[in-house]
Subunit: 216 residues, 4 copies
């Protein structure tokens, strides 16, 4: 395990993120006999599209955060690899609760259960990303030349979502659809970094690395 | 987010494109009891194959255009990452309307609805690719050494599809199958660049980059 | 399109090959009520496993041949990109006829139809790989430093499968299961290169490239 | 075949591992009518989650071991490529027996059969990884600069699982659920290397390779 290159961990993780995000669409389907009024049946399925959006946005933002984390690493230890597999497990599981919300949302009681299960899954994903970064910082896996401000900013950006998920899960016991909307807001909010900086991702001195970067 | 390498954005996007294009086949299935006359049932399913072809060609051409865009970038900003996730969302969704066309094409009314939904999805994919490139040019994310003619050509090649999709969506309200054929023609047309140039993709001076390029 | 790096074409193609080969398993399923005699139902499904094996071996060998082709390229033109998309289309389609064989193999008439459709798909995949390589050689996309013997060997290795597929498809009209076995034999035969050479894939002088190769 | 770069073999294998591990979730589904008591139905499905965990952990650890193996290679021969395709075949097949365990676990007789089939699949995966490494060592595909202790450690770590799987398969004939739990324990145990070393995966002298490593 001491011989796992961060690059290969990234490649494998990217694969899982990309597949999980693309499999979500398989959870959307119209009921039998939808052909009689296809437009009506299509529009009626809006909770499916909402659940799809929520999980897509969450996996998307998780991928962005994962990319930011591994970008700052200069090595991984066995615990990091195991925590990373745990994160991928939680992300891969998301299509299942997404499907539950998509299917049961017109039924009041089942709606509550499905929204809660989805919320717990999203909460665990978010908590695991934070754990991953905390572990990397604590064990000194972060590149010595990483900007201290950026390292702190990353940790800050990783935490506020957790409180939001807990609040939404509780709200979901009463108003499940509102909670699902709340999950979407949290994911979108996490996509907007504090300062909305317009700087290029690769500053000029690193230009050479960039040249090789996309050269896969 | 300021630390996302274009290479990792490419890798993740390639993954989503590859998965979405390969999942399309799952939307094709023969009805129950097809075994009694399998050849007849297989041939009868031709609208499924047409829908499969349309979505395959569209995702294929979108991938080619995406590759051309990211090739000219020397960095990405947060808006680019978010627009890119929006594009992947629209591409990942395609198997669903593809399945609608495949399923409902022998039913006149449902056919119209399915063809329109598919057309709107294709239109949005095309519009998003253009937005992505416009954003990159406007924010100066394009490499300073990129050929001006090529940059302009890329923008030109990205626009004509939009008008075509609008025309086909309107036509589809009357003749849905013809519209689906039209979507295929648009995708194939976008695969044929104006000049049909026979030059190699990597000219000799860049040969070194090439050596590393495939070396992933 | 003149800006597509061979490396990105490889990455996208590898993705499609990997997904198509892994989706095959979804075509295997036991009939309803299999739980009463699960072992019997599992063993009874042997034609599914045979079809799975055939398609897995064919996609596997196609990937190996594709890797050999792109390894010798120093650039791609637009026709190559389009032919490559055509190959990926045919490969992505394979899970569908694989499923047909898996489902209908206990029914004599349907068996014949399913085996023929699968055979035609395999034949087209094989023909497309040959076309791809022929195009690359004709248009001078092959690296000038590529070994002439290897280039000729590659073409030779690519052709014999075609005759085999035609023979098996004809045989399948009478003995479908034997034909499916024949498809498997062809794929396995293509995996065994003439000389069974034991040389390492990367000779010492190229060692440096190798160091970077896996470093994705 | 003599021209297959280890990097491309890694990329393709990573793709198959990532897809197989993510497809597992599709095997989880609640029975018809689960909406009446969704929480009960969700909790009742616990054997599905256990089977999901087992296969996820096994594919995860197989990926880690595969990464360790290919990291030490400086070339591949045709037999290695074929053995590697065999490993991918066995890994891709895993979602099927995982689904069998998930579906039939409340039925005593079927449970036994499903647990045995899953165990045999896991055993074959583990045996194939060992075979792959044994072949690489025997044929001198391992880098000359590879640390001898590490090479021996890798072989040691690869073997103990086999005996465990045999024991669990036999146990599963009597207590299938306990056997499935045992499969999970074996996978988790294989994730914990002997010394639990905290060293960074890429020591400083290799830092340059690392810089390029993730630069895909």
């Amino acid at each position: 395990m001491t011989t796992l290159r961060p690059g290969r961990l990234e490649a494998f993780s990217d694969g899982v993120f990309a597949i999980a995000i693309t499999l979500l669409v398989l959870e959307i389907s119209l009921p039998e006999g939808a052909g009689d009024d296809l437009l009506g049946a299509f529009l009626d399925e809006w909770p499916s599209y909402l659940a799809y959006l929520v999980s897509f946005a969450t996996i998307g933002v998780t991928w962005v955060r994962h990319a930011a984390i591994t970008h700052h690493l200069d090595g991984v230890d066995t615990t990091f690899v195991r925590l990373n597999l745990g994160l991928l497990l939680l992300v891969s599981f998301l299509p299942f609760p997404t499907g539950l919300v998509a299917e049961h949302v017109h039924d009041d009681e089942a709606e509550r259960v499905a929204a809660t299960i989805l919320g717990l899954n999203l909460l665990l994903v978010s908590a695991m990303v934070s754990t991953l970064w905390a572990h990397a910082v604590r064990r000194g896996l972060v590149r010595p030349d990483a900007d201290d401000t950026e390292v702190r900013l990353l940790a800050q950006r990783l935490t506020p979502g957790l409180a939001g998920y807990v609040a939404m899960i509780l709200l979901g016991l009463v108003l499940p659809i509102v909670a699902v909307l709340g999950y979407l807001v949290i994911a979108l909010a996490l996509l907007i970094p504090a300062g909305l900086r317009r700087v290029r991702s690769i500053p000029l001195p690193q230009r050479n690395e960039n040249d090789e970067g996309p050269g896969r």
